[in-house]
């Protein structure tokens, strides 16, 4: 049985070639979702500009820059997108012009307006966007914008650069990813639970074949299924569970080796652990199918509708397992055995998919939706990735501020590895409170008031800690002093780093591939011991 995929044409379109290196990561579908997305950027200092630059280079659909400031001489020292000619002009206009040159396929607009004002005066402005990148906002504006975007179901990413520190924080009610593409994930071979067709195929192969070449080209899947069966016969139909049993099993596999150069048997011994693995679904999968969103209704998203189908599948024809992923890793084998195995795995995956497809259709009808509204390719991808689904949820900023997890806070404050990160987290909030009172950030001006600023900042930090239920803790002296030294400086390298992280998260959110960060990422440019804090 041959399943050959041929390329219809080899003509290299310029657009496709330009994006070649990134298409190899997120594919055509990912690229399309980027090209149809509209992004709003608030404040185009270096942090926002650098974040947007990376998105524009990648072919984002459209950008709208909101910034009311004029280019100052100081901006020439930290922002690549303004130059000497732009001093005195609208910063939004200049940055927009530069970005447009970077990629003429992107629709670039700007609005000369202070984002804080816009947030107050015209909240409905944000509903038109796929995602808002909000940079260098103070707490008060962050909270307001967060409410607006949650209400309008617009994705939101906050980013801030402050001296040698800064943060990135996603704020989205729920983000689901089917193609989470983890780096390392166990293959789905079902060596611990072979289905009838696989067993039948394995039966047709004799491990004790005389011819040496044939003996060493039997794929390890066959070897392990056979040895597992042999073991089960003499162990009451059980699989190896204790340490001794596992070692015995491996020895049994090894005993069938005829000579030390038989790579297939070496691979079988190394892969023996796949036989010992517990059957059924992982805790992660369990959590997802037990999530309250899996109780679907007419407003359920495609993701949850498919999860509902998955839940049914697992308890019925799945026999406690998810749909088979369908691919097998490369292994020492004759071409013929390998291709036959591939076909067997492919067929079962295909059969599982057809069951799932039917269940999805039935559920769609049940909730009053068009049964064809979820496409075949989508369901197929869901089945292939059933073990790797990801659900991310983010607290609203004001909730995190009002009721941070005290347990998590105490843990961080007591942990050497987290202390600087939590220190900066608190200081980043403290400086905004300082600014609200004193109309400047601590240490921002060379006004001879550094000592006063330091003292006030420390007081504010202490009161914040108290509010957060962390009486008795302090932010390290040195950190508070450094924070005042930073004086709200927006250094290009820090902005480029933070902007880079921001753009990467935006891409993951829009393509719905890979896994977005969780919590608040606190950047520590002093020793690079940055941390993500989920409060």
């Amino acid at each position: 049985m041959k399943r050959l995929e041929q390329e219809p044409t080899m003509v290299e379109e310029p657009k496709k070639t330009k994006y070649d290196r990134q298409l190899r990561i997120w594919g055509e579908l990912g690229q399309t979702s980027l090209e149809t997305a509209s992004i709003c950027l608030l404040n185009c200092g270096p942090t926002g500009s650098e974040a947007l630059k990376n998105l524009v280079l990648g072919g984002i659909g459209s950008i709208t820059i909101v910034d009311g400031s004029k280019v100052q001489i100081g901006d020439l020292g930290n922002n690549f997108m303004v130059d000497a000619k732009s001093v005195g002009q609208s910063k939004a206009k200049c940055v927009c012009g530069f970005l447009q040159e970077l990629n003429d396929a992107v629709k670039a607009n700007f609005i000369e307006e202070n984002p804080d004002t816009l947030i107050l005066k015209d909240p409905s402005f944000f509903s038109q966007f796929t995602l808002v990148v909000a940079t260098q906002l103070v707490e008060d504006s962050m909270v307001k914008l967060d409410r607006i975007c949650r209400e309008a179901n617009v994705m939101l990413v906050f980013a801030r650069s402050y001296g040698l520190t800064g943060f990135v924080r996603i704020s989205v009610k729920e983000h689901t990813a089917i193609e989470s593409k983890p780096d390392h994930f166990l293959d789905d071979l079902r060596l611990n639970n072979p289905w009838p067709e696989l067993k039948r195929f394995v039966e047709t192969i004799d491990l004790n074949v005389a011819e040496p070449a044939a003996h060493k080209h039997i794929p390890y899947i066959v070897i392990l299924v056979k040895v597992a069966e042999e073991w089960a016969q003499t162990h009451n139909s059980n699989l190896p569970s204790t340490r001794e049993e596992k070692n015995e099993f491996k020895a049994l596999v090894k005993s069938k080796m005829l000579s030390p150069d038989e790579d297939n048997y070496r691979e079988a011994t190394e892969a023996a652990f796949k036989v010992f693995a517990p059957r059924g679904i992982s805790q992660d999968t369990q959590d997802i199918i037990n999530d309250s969103c899996a109780e679907v209704g007419p407003n359920s998203s495609d993701f949850w509708l498919m999860v509902a189908a998955l839940k049914e599948f697992i308890s019925n024809e799945g026999g406690g397992e998810v749909p088979l992923e369908g691919s097998i890793p490369d292994m020492t084998s004759s071409t013929e055995h390998y291709i036959n195995l591939q076909n067997i795995y492919y067929s079962k995956a295909e059969a599982d998919f057809l069951s799932m497809e039917q269940r999805v259709k039935d559920i769609l009808v049940k909730v009053g939706q068009d049964p064809s509204s979820i496409s075949k390719p989508t369901i197929k991808s869901f089945c292939k990735n059933a073990r790797k689904l990801k659900v991310c949820r983010y607290r609203m900023i004001e909730d995190e501020f009002r009721t941070p997890s005290v347990a998590a806070l105490h843990k961080c404050l007591a942990d050497e590895e987290y202390r600087s990160a939590i220190g900066f987290y608190i200081l980043l909030r403290a400086v905004d409170r300082f600014a609200a009172t004193y109309q400047k950030f601590p240490g921002q001006l060379d006004d001879g008031l550094m000592d006063h600023d330091v003292a006030q900042l420390k007081t504010i930090a202490l009161s914040l800690l108290r509010e957060m239920g962390c009486d008795g803790y302090m932010v390290e002296e040195e950190l508070s002093n450094e924070m005042c030294r930073f004086g709200a400086a927006e250094l290009h390298v820090v902005a480029a780093f933070i902007g880079g992280i921001t753009s990467q998260e935006v891409i993951k959110l829009i393509t719905k591939q890979f896994v977005p960060m969780s919590g608040t990422y606190i950047f520590n440019g002093i020793d690079h011991k940055s941390q993500s804090l989920t409060l």
Partner: protein
């Protein structure tokens, strides 16, 4: 926010870091306008590579107070660069990367001088690299990193107590990216591990067993590599395969399809063929921006001491959530590249010829066809023939005499090493100590060579 009636300075933000005292700073931090101005006027940074990392590095360094930059890159701009190498436009395709990159940054950041070098790193004199305070690497190959590492560590000298001589330490900042992953590291030769000290960090390249390619292919990559590595030579005797020639690539693709059809293997596409043959690494703007920024930040910190430095290796992964980790890798005291050199004890009677023989059998070296230099002088060179002939008479002389009868000193040897089962040409230092030699304390009483 606040009203500022003071005249604006371009370095408004950097000044906060360079002009103000700090707490978590390196020893040797002297904040003030002098520091800022000295960086501008005197510090020279070399950026190696003008690609994904290089473009970002040039921008980052230009906007971090550096005015004297050089950039070296032997490549020309290609269309596939444009999704991340933001200094290049479609109309620049075909032009040298180093030249266009330098020009673009100078256009936007006034005051910065960038000297482009459109050449291979091997074509520069070793002394060229000594001109710079710091070398920032934006490379995409292990070989290139090894090369620069060898050069930078070659400048390193050691005191008698095996501590590095501070003025000879040539810091390097090295970045690398692949998809959503990357790393940034600080290399202070003699202090932190050099590239060679941590060579084990780099996984060996995927090589398919020959019998798989020849007899039992199972997937598309096998078919492609068969066409590329086996069939090409069979059919095109003598003509070497060039992945940049479209006809060559198409030939491999067609052959791969034929083989795949023969074995019933799916999945051969033109894109995959290119990927496998050229070993294409997927690349995006964001990861390059992140890693370069980290490298540039460290460069600024090393030069100015305005904050503590990364100690010493940052691992980054942005695909599964966000993961950064700092590891303090240790140096290898006996590193062949950044160490004081392997200690070799010799009798004063050993001839240069015998010494060269010994190098072949030395377990840590396995160096054959060695050439030997001592300080400025060549003691023996295997090539070119003219030089070899001139120096041949040294072979029968005692090494002790050739080295001016010093009790111990450093010499350099180069040749072909069979270590790690692969032949490679290496250059390394050796510390030679002569047993039974009179310890000479006064130059006047030294028995002249």
């Amino acid at each position: 926010m606040a009203d500022l009636d003071v005249p604006q300075s371009k370095s408004r933000d950097l000044d906060k870091l360079l002009l103000r005292h700090g707490n978590l700073v390196d020893p040797g931090f002297f904040p003030g306008p002098q520091l800022r101005d000295d960086i501008r006027e005197f510090v020279k940074i070399l950026v190696v590579g003008a690609g994904g990392l290089g473009c970002e590095l040039l921008k980052d360094l230009a906007l971090s107070g550096f005015r004297n930059l050089d950039v070296i890159d032997m490549d020309r701009i290609e269309v596939t660069n444009l999704n991340r190498q933001f200094l290049f436009r479609l109309e620049d395709v075909g032009k040298p990367k180093a030249e266009v990159a330098a020009k673009r940054v100078m256009e936007r950041v006034s005051g910065v001088e960038i000297v482009p070098h459109f050449s291979r790193i091997e074509d520069k004199e070793v002394e060229f690299y000594n001109d710079f305070n710091i070398i920032a690497l934006g490379l995409d190959s292990i070989e290139a990193r090894k090369y620069i590492n060898g050069i930078a560590c070659g400048f390193l000298e050691y005191n008698d107590d095996d501590t590095p001589v501070r003025d000879t330490i040539k810091p390097m900042v090295d970045g690398g990216t692949e998809g959503f992953k990357g790393h940034a590291r600080v290399i202070m030769p003699g202090v932190t591990p050099c590239f060679e000290c941590t060579i084990w960090l780099f996984p060996p390249q995927v090589k398919f067993p020959l019998c798989t390619l020849a007899e039992t292919p199972r997937n598309a990559a096998h078919c492609i590599e068969y066409a590329h590595l086996i069939k090409w030579d069979e059919v095109h005797k003598g003509k070497s395969f060039d992945p940049d020639v479209p006809e060559h690539m198409k030939w491999v693709y067609d052959e791969a399809i034929r083989r795949a059809e023969l074995f019933g293997i799916p999945g051969v596409t033109y894109s995959l063929t290119q990927g496998v043959v050229k070993n294409i690494i997927p690349a995006i703007a964001s990861t390059n921006a992140i890693i370069s920024a980290a490298c540039a930040l460290e460069t600024l910190k090393i030069v100015s001491a305005c904050s503590k430095t990364l100690t010493n290796y940052l691992t980054y992964n942005g695909g599964e959530g966000l993961y950064t980790k700092v590891t303090d890798f240790p140096r290898l005291d006996d590193c062949l590249v950044c160490g004081p050199g392997i200690l070799i004890e010799l009798d004063t009677s050993i001839t240069l010829s015998k010494f060269i023989e010994m190098l072949e059998d030395h377990p840590k070296l396995l160096l054959s066809k060695a050439s030997v230099t001592y300080g400025e002088s060549n003691l023996y060179m295997q090539a070119p023939p003219v030089l070899e002939e001139m120096l041949r008479e040294n072979l029968s002389k005692p090494l002790y005499d050739l080295m001016g009868r010093v009790q111990k000193d450093t010499i350099h040897v180069s040749g072909t090493s069979l270590k790690d089962k692969e032949k490679q040409s290496i250059q390394t230092k050796l510390r030679v100590v002569f047993k039974g030699a009179d310890v000479v304390t006064d130059m006047d009483t030294a028995i002249g060579a």
